[in-house]
Amino acid sequence: MAEIELRHIEKHFGPVHVIKDVNLTVKDKEFVVFLGPSGCGKTTTLRAIAGLEEIDSGDILLDGKPIQGLRAADRDIAFVFQNYALYPHFTVFENLAFPLRAVGTAKDVVDRTVRSVGKSLGILHLLNARPSALSGGDMQRVAIGRALVRRPKALLLDEPIGSLDAKLRETMRIELKRLHYENGSTSIYVTHDQVEAMSLADRIVVMNDGVLQQVGTPTEVYLYPANLFVAQFIGSPVMNIAATKVSEADGNARIALDDASFDLPRELLGMLEQKQAAPDLSLGVRPEGVIVSRDDKPGYRPAEAHIIQPFGGFDIVDLKFGEKTLRARTSSGYVDKPGATVFARIDPAQAHFFDTRSGASLGIRLGN
């Protein structure tokens, strides 16, 4: 049982305000991912929980008990460092045994525990090697093993697979997920890679500029981004964002994006009124929300295909509506070459509306 709670955490580095009033509860056995661009305060928050960084104010609670005054050694929280931080002068066995020996664990217990962790991580054959002789992936396995060997209350991971190559990252991601299933320790994982975040997290915490932007399941933050930052940070390729004006035309709500305009269901007008939306609106639509057709159909607008990026299973096509470009996702090869004229509409169910000035989502969801 380990629940981590952050209450009104504040932290400055000199004049820089790195953590701004962060409040969060990580439930027992939950896998939470802090996601954000570099310098957003996610690693600092993680280090503060571990006790490697002091906070200016606020409370960090582990199972309801404040721990911000305790030394890292007394918090019973394990930490996996981005650069592994293996002890270079020890063998893999000694590295894994260190957290146990440091508290005077009996020799046979150390031996047994190290071997069982080594087995579950597949590094038994490396126990006598020194870290300098290991590959990046194996070093990471040892670093994770060193964190798991003591059965900590909580496990914190700071971009643990960030420096591995793409293929190995994928393997390690799956391995991390398996380890979490097996051990079930409360985990907080920091990354700037949204794919990693989406695939690992029970809940994602999106951070920017020291502020929590949104906390939710991967699906929630993908489908219902709380603001423009989250909308653009999550999802690849990035969501299309365009300043828009909404008016009534032909019994529909017409949204105008510079030269292009699209018709959406009339109910949008009522919703905007109800939300007392500011006149400066931004429309957000993911590439898969831009529906492309080769034939002109009612409600579709003509566009010129521009750059086509094939991804194998699908293509990403830049569509030019006059000066305005929207990025669309099509089945692969659907638009055969740049310059072709195609027709497109916006899927109302996938249209997001944001207040341009505050960036906040208006929370409007349209049916089909």
Partner: protein, 297 residues
Amino acid sequence: MITTLDPHSRAAYRGWSDITIRNLFVIPTILFLIVFNIFPLLYSLGYSFTDFRASTKDPVNFVGLRNYMELLSDPNIWSNFTITAQYVIVSVSGQVIVGFGLALLLNRSFPLKGLITTLLLLPMMLSMAVVGLFWKLLYDPNFGIINYSLGLGKLEWLGDPNIALYAVALTDIWMWSPFVMLLSLAGLSAVPKHLYEAASIDRASRLYTFFRITLPLVAPILLIAIIFRTMEAFKTFDLAYVMSGQPTTEVVSIRLYKMAFQEWQTGKSCALAYIVLIMVLCITNVYVKYLNKAKER
């Protein structure tokens, strides 16, 4: 754009190959070493097998290993070596303890760190003879500040044969601890900070961290400091010579000096010098073995 050189310097460039230029730099140094180091070294090796006396014009006779046999069976020489060993052990271990301790204290950021470090380094920049002379004044039983401030009355630091050697060693410690400190400081600052963070996460106490992380990682550079200081202490001369005339402070270098330039037993003193050289080489070899072992990790 190609820079045009006049034909003369172009020829000069072409004429001087890399090898020529390299030789121009290296050969003078090598010549210097041969004339002033290697030649005297070999020449004195030759002398060590003779009864040569630089003070007389007597014919020089080859005596084989007699000088070495006499020296090694002379109990007085062994007592010189014992004194030297005591001196080396006391002074080097003192320097390591004080120097490493200072380095641990300095290995963090605090105001005026640079200034304080520089001030601490001053002793080793002084001349040995000068240090010896003013410590003699500090130790003086009548007006020395050490007895005065410690309230030791008329303690004869350098006059008492039982403590004179340790008094000289203390001066050496004062003078050379900064050297150990400097090297240790370099070693300590080279230990990555994240290892300390990892150790604190791994629940290691400060003491455990010191013995399991800090010490093993600093050991190689600390060993280098110990090698240097042992070699220096083994052949120490100036301090003991300037500070004390006690027979209990007659380290082997002083004996060597007396043998060569007071008793004019040139051949025999060369033999003694070679014995010292071989001993120093043996001791450093032991250290170097340890060093290599420590580096393998």
